[in-house]
Amino acid sequence: MKPYALYIAIVFILCFSCEKEEDKAYTAIPKPLEIPKLFEENILAPVIPINNPQTIEGIALGKKLFFDPILSANNMQSCADCHMPQLAFTDNTQFSDGIDGHFGDRNSMPLFNLAWHYDEKFFWDGNAFSLEHQAFSPVTNPLEMKNTWPNVEAKLKKHLDYPDLFTKAFGTKNIDSTLVTKAIAQFERTLISSNSKFDKFLLGETELTPQELNGFNVFMDEARGDCFHCHGSDKNPLWTDNSFHNNGLDETFSDLGLGTVTGDPSDNGKFRTPSLRNLAFTAPYMHDGRFSTLDEVINHYSEGLKNSETIDPLMKKVAQGGVGLSSQDKIDLKAFLLTLTDKAFIKNPNFNP
């Protein structure tokens, strides 16, 4: 045998032995998202990164991490403290306090149908691209979990269960921040809300009351609510365009929102449109949680608009404060909005610890 042939043989053996070991270690079982009928029929497919496919083990690990205070510096706060399942994965305070009791300055966003956020710009101001990157931030934010990633990684490596769970999910015991956020993102993508009364109405499984139907008409009427341009319609089960708008909250801005991220003054005062699903659970409302009730929100659009340089052109009759809905239309609109409540979502055992 010539020397070069020997080298080739060694390289082949090494390659095959490596591959075999990797295959043996990585046993995660694929678990594609179960896409609801209305989503399947009406909107584009969810965003699943090629390098982070959904697996049974990855989702289970993500769920455990989501509810585990081990991610915080003092082992006292988990993701679920500000994103509670029973509140559609938000909390019920204007701002949320971190491990030191200090409060942030944005309202905690509810978490559902995140895999259908096609632009992948997360947070109120879109500062994190991708769900995986979004999960990095709260862990080290001094107003939230106030931890460091080396500390998190060290704690997880020493833990009784996690090394094995990471091995099953990702084929490695070498736990790092990337794998932690990948697992959390996998769990978050499973948080699908699609079982509201209005969903059932669209599927022909129930009827709406005349009041709820009129409320839907107010929502879809450009001369009254005109909510559909930003919040979608019966053809878009997300109930948000996931885009950024200035909806006339302030004349001047203490929080620049998207403008902070882009540096473009024309983006000042713009925040991501939240979904209208599950409003029954997600008070208070707006990026700064300024409105305690849905009535306050509706009143804002009806007569509370404030003009500013970047107010969205879709905010009509700003000089009059808004479109001036009648009292009955306001009541009906609220009734319709509440048909987007998904009680099955908050009770889903797969989403609870």
């Binding site: 029929e41 009406n42 909107i43 584009l44 259908w116 096609y118 008409n217 879809m220 009427d221 450009e222 001369a223 005109d226 559909f228 341009h229 930003c230 979608g232 319609s233 019966d234 053809k235 878009n236 365009d241 024309s266 003009n307 340089e309 970047t310 107010i311 969205d312 052109p313 879709l314 905010m315 009509k316 009759k317 700003v318 000089a319």
Partner: protein, 257 residues
């Protein structure tokens, strides 16, 4: 001898395959691409010109553009024998995000002479009402059922200085005109065909199409933004005026290979 024959055979095969793959002129069909650019009269504009009041319309109102999206569909090539080759796809052009300004349908077009190339601004009624488009639904492009359903043709939004020089929003949204005032809905078609003229197709071809945005406010109807600025979707007459003003909005700037 055998060895030489095989070598010769491989050489001939290689020569043939090179000829077929690399020489566009020998192909019987061509790819087409539609590029969309935008002007305010004679000035080229793009999304970097958005969000500041820098345009003046025919009525003398100063205005900005904050959003411009529009739909084109049903590209047609009509041969000298009046045979029509139709590209049954569509494209939502999003000028705001500088996206999808270039559209290359999957359908290849047979080479030859064509008397006319055209596309539809918006959707014709068949496309508008008989199909469901997940990509357009995801882009919140729908028209409410109370206005007939289907899809928007265009969303042009911005601010203008009203008579008291206050910045006021406008939403120039084009849809199929609908009159809801009677006992039943009355419709008038407001999609229109944009004819680009004749073309000889012999290789992959690029159609450079230009939209003059100012034309939407110009003729035959001088648009008064102080009167017509919002809630235009349910406004039958406004939709017809948009249709009329839209007739001269597009032009074929050039055809290149």
């Amino acid at each position: 001898m055998k060895k030489i024959n095989y070598t010769l055979l491989i050489f001939v095969f290689t020569l043939c395959s090179c000829s077929e793959n690399n020489d566009g002129n020998t192909s019987l069909e061509s790819n087409i691409t539609f590029n969309f650019s935008h002007t305010w009269d004679n000035t080229l504009i793009n999304n970097t010109d958005f969000n500041s009041i820098k345009f003046t319309n025919e009525n003398g109102e100063q205005l900005s553009i904050t959003k411009l999206r529009y739909l084109i569909s049903k590209i047609r090539f009509t041969s000298s024998k009046n045979e029509i080759i139709e590209v049954s796809s569509y494209n939502l052009i999003d000028v705001t995000n500088n996206a999808t300004l270039s559209f290359s349908p999957n359908t290849k077009i047979p080479n030859g002479e064509y008397n006319n190339v055209s596309f539809i601004f918006g959707f014709d009624n068949e496309d508008n009402y008989t199909k469901n488009y997940p990509d357009l639904n995801s882009a919140s492009w729908n028209v409410p059922d109370v206005l007939g359903g289907g899809y928007h043709y265009m969303q042009l939004e911005g601010k203008f200085l009203d008579t008291s020089t206050t910045e006021t929003g406008y939403a120039y949204h084009a849809i199929r005109a609908v009159d809801n005032n009677g006992s039943s809905q009355q419709f008038q078609d407001t999609f229109f065909t944009v004819n680009l003229g004749s073309v000889t197709l012999s290789r992959d071809t690029l159609f450079n199409i230009e939209m003059n945005v100012s034309q939407w406010f110009k003729a035959p109807n001088t648009w008064n933004l102080n009167v017509l600025n919002s809630m235009l979707m349910p406004n039958f007459n406004a939709q017809v005026m948009m249709f009329e003003n839209g007739q001269n909005v597009f032009q074929l700037k050039s055809v290149s290979n």
